[in-house]
């Protein structure tokens, strides 16, 4: 079914070399694309596939895997009432990706948060500052190698770990 998804068909036609993976899980379609084309693909999805609402931008840290980070864009189409998730791998050595602020202005704060908590830089972002942590904070708390109880403390040795 994922292959027949209305946006996936178009994406595969137009950006065949850029689509790395298409997956469906529990009825949700996820497309993984190359990070170089993220802005172009987002613009295409917004303008030609009516994904006019960017619900969320975030990242996942797969520490120990290569590439380490995965950018995640959850989008919604108000006219068609359906969702699509676009992901783009980001390597640790080059932890940056183009900003999609020019496509949806929602991305401004969401990308700032991702930068703040994961340390992924967004090129051409209009105002890339920390947002939840203070400006002089060192480190990026949602990275997997950032200790739960903060830096300079013994790592958490709770029941689960």
């Amino acid at each position: 079914m994922a292959e027949n998804h209305r946006a996936v068909v178009k994406l595969k036609e137009k950006y065949a070399s850029s689509v790395l993976d298409v997956r469906e899980f529990r009825g949700e379609v996820t497309v993984t694309v190359k990070k170089e084309d993220i802005v172009e693909i987002c613009r295409f999805l917004k303008e030609d596939a009516a994904y006019n609402l960017l619900t969320d931008v975030t990242a996942v840290d797969y520490l120990g895997q290569e590439p380490r980070f995965m950018m995640v864009y959850n989008m919604y189409s108000i006219p068609n009432k359906d969702r699509l998730r676009v992901k783009a791998p980001v390597a640790e050595a080059d932890a940056c990706i183009e900003s999609v602020c020019g496509v949806w202005s929602t991305a401004n704060w969401l990308e700032r948060e991702t930068y703040d908590l994961f340390g992924i830089r967004f090129n051409n972002h209009p105002d890339l500052r920390r947002i939840l942590m203070t400006d002089d904070w060192v480190g990026h708390p949602l990275r997997k190698d950032y200790p739960l109880q903060g830096p300079d403390r013994e790592p958490y040795k709770g029941r689960l770990t």
């Binding site: 899980f25 529990r26 949700e28 996820t30 006019n52 609402l53 960017l54 619900t55 969320d56 975030t58 996942v60 840290d61 995640v72 959850n74 919604y76 108000i78 009432k81 969702r83 998730r85 949806w104 202005s105 929602t106 401004n108 704060w109 969401l110 948060e113 908590l117 947002i131 939840l132 942590m133 203070t134 708390p141 949602l142 950032y146 739960l148 958490y156 709770g158 029941r159 689960l160 770990t161």
Partner: protein, 390 residues
């Protein structure tokens, strides 16, 4: 000739009209706002990070504390996301009770919004009336979960316990009297000259701009976008209920006010329908590896105790995968994006808070207006710093 100088004014973080610890740095030309720089994060508790180190059940109480004015909506979004990952079907009775509580929560959250919004603009009486009714919802909360705010009532697979005796009567009494109460609020505000002068034409944002800024929920409907997740992507059995989705026209604070008032009345209608359709039955899915055993079994049998201990201490494994579950929370779309690596705690849990995204549009909505109108815009956005900062 007097010299003209721009002034920078600091508003908050401790300011009664910023609804929590929000700090805004305003650049003013006289009393006209030229630039707003919001500073947030004062309440950051790292809920997303914490949940990576807890079992799936242990995260539920953390979600109560996000939007603390609507705890059960947060619980609902989270348990639905985990249930989606697991592929679990929840029994009908549990779904119906969830809808009742989610709608009462919407009423409760909207009451606080109306109370504070009116108080900010100078109407003290409405504040007292709204809190009087909100107290009744808190009593219902206390009745079923033991807590007035941090309810922690929903469980993955169903509910923590069945409804207590007298619940239905209490809710019906509240709902039956509620329409008249909304009439009272409307009587105090809708045609009140001061209220109209403060809200009509204030904080205007067109539908196109609102979607571009990611605004969701009643704030988006106030701009004329007919979209409600409960109707358009139903979850938890919302497709069974009959309700209207109010939509504004003029995209201003007054229309958003009208939308939310109608929403409260519609929520009451949904609660009534849900109570009518409530049938006896199980409140937890038949999934012993995920759901807690009944309390009688825990207290009286060794198997029940072991079972409870296993789930409380180890949790349960969740199949590898990722899901996003969005729900129509009182303030907009509340989303949970949960990634599982097959273990007993989330590999990553992302919360998409409606207030965070709605707040980011504040500059667009109040640039060029007066400082006093900014207070009305903060009120109409209906933000809660607990979920903005997480």
């Amino acid at each position: 000739m007097a010299s003209i100088e721009k002034m920078t004014l600091n508003m908050g973080p401790q300011h009664p009209s910023t609804h929590g610890v929000l700090r805004l740095v305003l650049e003013l030309d006289g009393e006209i706002i030229e630039k707003i720089t919001p500073h947030i994060g004062y309440l950051h508790r790292g809920v997303e990070k914490l949940s990576e180190h807890r079992t799936y059940h242990q995260t539920i109480p953390l979600t109560d504390r996000l939007d603390y004015l609507a705890p059960m909506s947060n619980n609902l979004g989270y348990v639905l996301a985990v249930e989606k990952l697991l592929g679990v079907e929840v029994p009908e009775r549990a779904e119906t009770i969830r809808v009742i509580m989610a709608e009462l929560t919407r009423i409760k959250s909207h009451l606080v919004w109306l109370a504070c919004h009116a108080l900010d603009i100078g109407a003290m009486t409405v504040f007292l009336y709204c809190f009087r009714e909100r107290e009744e919802v808190m009593d219902i909360y206390e009745m079923i979960s033991g807590a007035r705010m941090t309810s922690n009532y929903f469980r993955v697979g169903g509910l923590s316990q069945d409804l207590p005796e007298g619940f239905e009567k209490k809710v019906r009494d509240f709902i039956d009297a509620f329409d008249a109460n909304v009439d009272t609020y409307e009587g105090l505000l809708t045609k009140n000259t001061i209220w109209l002068q403060r809200t009509v034409g204030n904080g205007v944002i067109s539908a196109e701009d609102a979607i571009d800024a990611g605004i969701t929920g009643p704030a988006l409907r106030g701009s004329g976008v007919d979209w409600d997740l409960r109707r358009d992507n139903p979850y938890s059995g919302y497709e069974k209920y009959n309700f209207q989705v109010p939509v504004g026209e003029k995209c201003d604070t007054f229309d958003r006010y009208k939308v939310r008032l109608v929403e409260m009345r519609e929520s009451a209608k949904i609660v009534r329908q849900a109570l009518d359709s409530l049938k006896p039955g199980p409140i937890l899915a038949d999934l012993p590896q995920v759901c807690y055993p009944p309390k009688e079994a825990v207290y009286n049998t060794i198997e029940g105790l072991i079972h409870h201990f296993k789930i409380a201490s180890e949790g349960f494994p969740v199949p590898e995968g990722e899901v996003y579950q969005g729900i129509e929370a009182p303030k907009g779309e509340l989303g949970y994006y949960v990634v599982s690596d097959g273990g007993n705690h989330p590999y990553r849990m992302r919360i998409r808070p409606p207030s965070f995204v709605n707040l980011s549009a504040i500059e667009k909505m109040s640039k060029g207006s007066m400082v006093a109108d900014l207070v009305a815009v903060i009120g109409t956005l209906d933000i809660v710093l607990g979920e903005i900062d997480r």
